[in-house]
């Protein structure tokens, strides 16, 4: 039912939201809450349109009355200075503008409560992908407990068809302070609160990349705690899973520079925080780097994952993300080249 509102209301809303759509062709709006791509976001969209239409009608009615009264009853030139009729109130009118709002409130409440129930109390079908999301200052850890995958900042989930639904259930935890998981086109936000596990779900129906970011102030770099969700076709998702399961570092890296970089990586403090599966690096404080090169961004979306940005990020994290908890290790230029070369082998 929630969805049928969404479709019905969509047309009505297209008129109301015209200013939002200006320039839609030239400038993408990756976080537009009115372009849902997953059931929870669609249900929210449906009730939102309903609420917008009701509040819009109230606005037009009251605004019209106010303008009318403000213009009609202004004191005019050549007024006779007599006081107007002194009216103290009207029981009928006051009763009317009590009862009508009560009815509107009840309607809005029922509409909202239904969507609350549909989103929060939905049953997940067998075959639901399970992901544990752990918020850190200032990045995202994604663990797929049933698939044995650990990754960061870029979540991969399968497309969920109408015939063959395959939703993803996110279990939300926090390693430090409060965070909030918000990818507007997929679902509303849900907070990650330490010592207070939460859940949410998505079932994306459109393939592609969806942008989001932390929506609860979590400290210095709250702004650059960005988030990407890649929605893959089932085949591409299975390929991604297979690739992530391989311990990338099983074979020693080819090339002298990369080999030196690996030695350096494993003998400096890098390993205290980072993990590379199959090596001596098994830190858990920072992002898992086993398949670093499979990701499009660095530092939770703060930079592109290019060799130059990667080198700069290792050399001076503050230049990309001031206040990030990754320290600069004061490596020499040669050492930086070597560590970068090693990380570039982590496919």
């Amino acid at each position: 039912m929630g969805r049928s509102w969404g479709r019905g209301g969509a047309k009505a809303f297209a008129v109301l939201s015209a200013p939002l759509c200006l320039g839609q062709g030239t400038s993408p709006r990756p976080g537009n809450i009115f372009a849902p791509a997953s059931t929870p976001a669609e249900m929210i969209y449906g009730v939102s349109v309903f609420v917008l239409v009701i509040t819009g009608i109230i606005f037009l009615a009251v605004f019209g009355l106010l303008v009318y009264a403000a213009v009609k009853y202004r004191r005019r030139e050549g007024d006779d200075a007599r006081e107007p009729a002194q009216v103290y109130g009207s029981d009928q009118l006051e009763l009317a503008w009590t009862v009508i709002p009560v009815i509107i409130v009840l309607v809005l409440f029922i509409a909202s409560a239904r969507v609350i129930h549909q989103v929060q109390d939905a049953d997940m079908p067998a075959g639901t992908v399970q992901v544990t999301v752990i918020g850190h200052q200032f990045w995202w850890e994604f663990r797929y407990p049933k698939l044995g995958i650990i990754t960061a900042n870029e979540l991969h989930v399968p497309l969920s068809g109408t015939q063959n639904p395959r939703p993803t259930l996110l279990k939300l935890l926090s390693a430090d302070t409060d965070h909030s998981f918000w990818v507007p086109r997929l679902a509303g936000k849900t907070d990650l609160i330490p010592n207070h596990p939460n859940e949410m779900w998505i079932d994306p129906r459109i393939e592609g990349m969806f942008l989001g970011q932390c929506a609860q102030y979590c400290g210095v770099q709250h702004a650059k705690m960005l988030l990407r969700v890649y929605v893959d076709t089932p085949e591409k998702f299975d390929e991604w899973v297979a690739a992530q399961k391989r311990p990338a570092a099983a074979a020693p890296p080819a090339g002298e520079s990369a080999a030196a970089g690996r030695r350096l990586f494993e003998t400096t403090a890098c390993v205290a925080c980072h993990r590379v599966a199959g090596t001596r690096a098994f830190g858990r404080v920072g992002p898992d780097l086993t398949h670093l090169m499979s990701r499009a961004t660095l530092a939770s979306g703060a930079a592109e994952n290019t060799p130059a940005d990667l080198r700069q990020w290792i050399e001076k994290p503050d230049s990309i993300k001031p206040g990030s908890l990754m320290p600069a290790m004061n490596l020499s230029a040669k050492e930086l080249d070597e560590v970068t070369a090693y990380l570039l082998t982590l496919h």
Partner: protein
């Protein structure tokens, strides 16, 4: 009381009479227990912090005008929005409203002073101390990870960011202690207002014949007694956590971050009504006088206010729809939140009913009241959107919320306050504020307000979270942020016109006389400014509009009430 104050010891030895007068005046203001002087001190203090908080807002807006700006560092930005929010709520909005309440309530109920003048002075100085202490943190308190100074945990200071593990320095302690201190001042004021309104009314003024301003301040004060206490309790618990190894909010030791949220918002949401109800009071006094009609439906207005006060205490968790409450809890708070809309709607309709059939005079007080009505209507409707939990899952903590509550606080509260300034300044100083400047102030500020806050809704709908110090290009947010920042220039210009008007009119303004607006409540029966004792002879009233009765003996109100 000014004539009775003692000269300070040794003042007579000072050379020059001018200096002695200056010192005596200062001394008189420092030791005063007069409700009018304290009221003016509250207002002056709040205006000072309005400028400070405005500068902080300007820094925020400049930083956000374009993507990837480097105007300030993230640390400074986080400090700016924390201090801006804390300052504007606790050291601007509350003091200025207490200032007006202090000044007006005794005059309007025909009393010579507040019930407890010394408590009144104590309350003011506690509040003043709180604000100064908060700003001392720029010198004394390290922030998150021991960096920089001044609080940077956000004005609601969610746990566990405030714990020792994250906030190592003292900035959080400055925040805590300054709010504790000003909180005591607030409780003192609330007790004082309740006692004054209940026991100091002049002869004939039954509860049903009080001006609405007194009624609304009574409800506001009653709410404060319930809502400041959880905040105070939470601050003490936070201190215990930070210094006595308590674990109330220490999530690593089994404490609960959600409990802090409940404590904070059970204060925080009624606080919004604590701020808006006195503004309802201004509008309820000004709209009738400028429409030349009595307030429409006085008993319903009182009932609606009491209803807002009561119901608003059960809505706090609508700030927490995203923390993972059960569907039943979320639904409950949707119902209570939407329910507040009913009495609020009644008020808007009753103001409309007051204007209907009147002869509306558009002087600056009424213009600002009309601005208030339009903007508060929109703020209320976006509030309904946010009250619907599913919509809030998208809109919560986005720029839509920032736009919404600035619509309440600037578009509603500040506009009503400007109306109050233009309306009561003649009573407070004996001179009129300049009308032309007032109209310029209104239009320039109105344009600035709408440029900034209308367009601020849109990036929220496009996924922009609040409290981010910068953002990427290509998300569709930049143009709206630029427009919002341009609006700030207009707002600053409007404020400058206002401040100039306040100062200029004090010296050069037209002499007001006792009753420049042809109004009906008791404060206009005494001189402008009123003598220290307020009334030479305490008045006696027979209706809600004693001056109407006096001016229209052929058609007095008391025949109909």
């Amino acid at each position: 009381m000014s004539s009775e104050s003692m000269p300070i010891a040794g003042a007579g030895n000072l050379p020059g009479a001018a200096r002695r007068v200056w010192l005596e005046t200062l001394h008189e203001w420092l030791i005063t227990v007069d409700h009018k002087k304290l009221g003016l001190m509250y207002i002056g203090y709040a205006l000072f912090f309005l400028v400070v908080g405005g500068i902080e807002a300007t820094i925020i807006r400049i930083q956000l005008a374009v993507p990837h700006a480097h105007f300030v560092s993230p640390e400074v930005f986080n400090r700016m929005f924390t201090m801006h929010g804390t300052t504007m709520i606790f050291f601007v909005a509350m003091p200025v409203l207490f200032g007006f309440a202090n000044y007006l309530v005794p005059l309007m109920i025909g009393a010579r002073d507040m019930a407890f003048p010394r408590l009144n002075a104590f309350s003011f100085w506690m509040t003043a101390f709180g604000g100064l202490l908060l700003y001392f943190s720029f010198l004394g308190g390290d922030g998150l990870y021991g960096a920089g100074s001044a609080p940077d945990v956000g004005w609601w200071a969610y746990a566990p960011l405030t714990s020792k593990a994250f906030s190592r320095g003292h900035s959080t302690d400055y925040w805590t202690v300054s709010l504790l201190a000003s909180g005591f001042g607030t409780i003192g004021t609330a007790v004082n207002l309740v006692a004054t309104i209940l026991s100091m009314r002049c002869r004939g003024m039954t509860l049903g014949k009080m001006p609405l301003l007194a009624w609304l301040n009574l409800v506001m004060s009653g709410m404060l007694l319930f809502t400041i206490t959880p905040l105070t309790a939470a601050q003490i618990m936070l201190m215990v956590d930070r210094y006595l190894d308590g674990h109330f909010f220490d999530t690593h030791a089994g404490g609960s971050a959600a409990i802090w949220m409940h404590f904070f918002w059970i204060f925080g949401h009624p606080e919004v009504y604590v701020l808006i109800i006195p503004c309802f009071a201004f509008v309820s006094e000004i709209v009738p006088v400028f429409s030349r009609k009595p307030i429409f439906g006085y008993p319903v207005m009182v009932a609606a206010t009491v209803a807002i006060g009561g119901v608003s205490m059960s809505v706090w968790a609508h700030h927490m729809y995203t923390i993972g409450m059960t569907s039943y809890e979320n639904a409950f708070f949707v119902l209570t939140t939407l329910a507040v809309g009913v009495p609020t709607g009644i008020k808007i309709f009753n103001w409309l009913g007051t204007m209907w059939g009147g002869k509306i005079r558009y002087a600056p007080p009424m213009m600002f009241c009309l601005g208030f009505l339009f903007q508060f209507l929109i703020a209320g409707l976006t509030g309904i959107m946010l009250g619907s939990a599913p919509f809030d899952w998208q809109l919560g903590n986005s720029y839509f919320v920032v736009a919404h509550f600035h619509y309440v606080i600037v578009g509603g509260i500040l506009f009503a306050l400007f109306a109050a300034f233009y309306y009561w300044y003649p009573k407070m100083t004996g001179r009129m504020l300049n009308d032309t400047l007032g109209k310029w102030h209104f239009w320039v500020f109105l344009i600035g307000f709408h440029l900034t806050f209308d367009f601020m809704h849109i990036p929220g709908l496009l996924g922009m979270p609040r409290r981010i110090y910068t953002y990427e290009p290509g998300r569709g947010w930049a143009i709206w942020n630029m427009i919002a920042t341009i609006g700030v220039a207009f707002q600053i210009a409007g404020i400058l016109i206002f401040v100039f008007n306040l100062v200029h009119s004090y010296f050069r303004g037209r002499v007001a006389g006792d009753d420049p607006w042809d109004a009906w409540t008791l404060e206009w029966a005494t001189s402008s400014p009123p003598a220290a004792c307020n009334f030479a002879v305490l008045p006696e009233v027979r209706s809600r509009r004693p001056l109407w009765d006096l001016k229209h003996p052929e058609d007095p109100d008391w025949k109909y009430e």
